[in-house]
């Protein structure tokens, strides 16, 4: 089957939007890291006598954020590779790059599907646990 001008135009457009998605996501990650560090520094100064707890709490929060960002970057790496390879394939009429681009899109969807299943499972289990356990059983530190 041939790749007509409409199909090529669609793939070019998909690749452009995929690039925008990756760019905005990476900028968003950078912003959230900045916000996280800005939020963290005054908290430690303000909590006199409790700085150890504050540092530990803030540290784990930042660590979770960094792990989330690393996973996000890993996923978006495949979307970025799809975008660049698909665009290059369309412009350079390169058959191998086109196949490689769609292989990266496949990996992107594969990882996001597996992560979506895990996150949905945790969310629903969390809601059930929240509903089942009475507030008296919660422990506060």
């Amino acid at each position: 089957m041939g790749m007509d001008s409409i199909a090529r135009q669609h793939i070019r457009s998909i690749a452009s939007w995929a690039t925008i998605i990756v760019t905005t996501t990476v900028v968003g990650y950078a912003l959230s890291l900045i916000v996280s560090f800005l939020r963290k520094s005054p908290a430690i100064q303000q909590s006199e006598g409790f700085d150890l707890t504050s540092r530990l709490g803030g540290g784990s929060e930042t660590l979770t954020e960094i792990i989330t960002i690393l996973i996000g970057l890993f996923i978006n790496f495949f979307l970025f590779r799809f975008a660049t390879q698909a665009k290059a394939a369309i412009e350079g009429y390169n058959q191998e790059q086109l196949a490689s681009g769609f292989r990266n899109l496949k990996i992107y969807f594969m990882i996001t599907t597996i992560l979506a299943v895990i996150v949905a499972g945790i969310l629903i289990l969390g809601m059930v646990a929240l509903a089942v356990s009475p507030p008296e059983t919660w422990t506060t530190t």
Partner: protein, 141 residues
């Protein structure tokens, strides 16, 4: 030379077809998982609302009627999110079906419709990403 003259140079060869087919399959699965997860989350939230609100709210807040305010706010927010997700995932599921059918039947028109749906998915997702980034920027300012 007219742009259409190049159309025969870029083809959907067996390797590209396999990768596109797999990407479409995983994309469709991702759409179904996200939609099903969202609906399930919504149903669990409604079904266990009584227990969840008791866990979240204090007795005083419950007596003041904060429960119904929180319930309707959660329902409205969830419904808006569900509607946006449904539109987005509808594009992705239709893209998966269109691309796979187009490749199986070797039907250029069906294949193009599938690609158009994938383009719509990425366009809408891209717009959401831009809006999210703008929201993050305003929060930072």
């Amino acid at each position: 030379m007219d742009e259409n003259d190049f159309s025969l140079e870029l083809k959907v060869d067996p390797e590209t077809s396999t990768q596109m087919n797999d990407a479409a399959k995983w994309g469709k699965l991702f759409g179904i998982v996200i939609l099903a997860g969202f609906v399930l989350f919504f149903v669990v939230m409604i079904a266990m609302w009584g227990a969840i609100s008791k866990s979240i709210l204090t007795q005083e807040m419950l007596e003041e009627g904060a429960d119904s305010v929180l319930k309707y706010s959660a329902i409205i927010i969830s419904l808006v999110a569900l509607a946006i997700t449904a539109i987005l995932m509808n594009f992705l599921i239709r893209a998966g079906i269109g691309i796979r059918q187009g490749l199986q039947r070797r039907d250029q028109a069906v294949f193009n419709v599938g690609l158009a749906n994938l383009r719509n998915y990425f366009t809408m997702y891209g717009v959401i990403c831009i809006l999210q980034l703008l929201f993050a920027l305003t929060r930072l300012a």
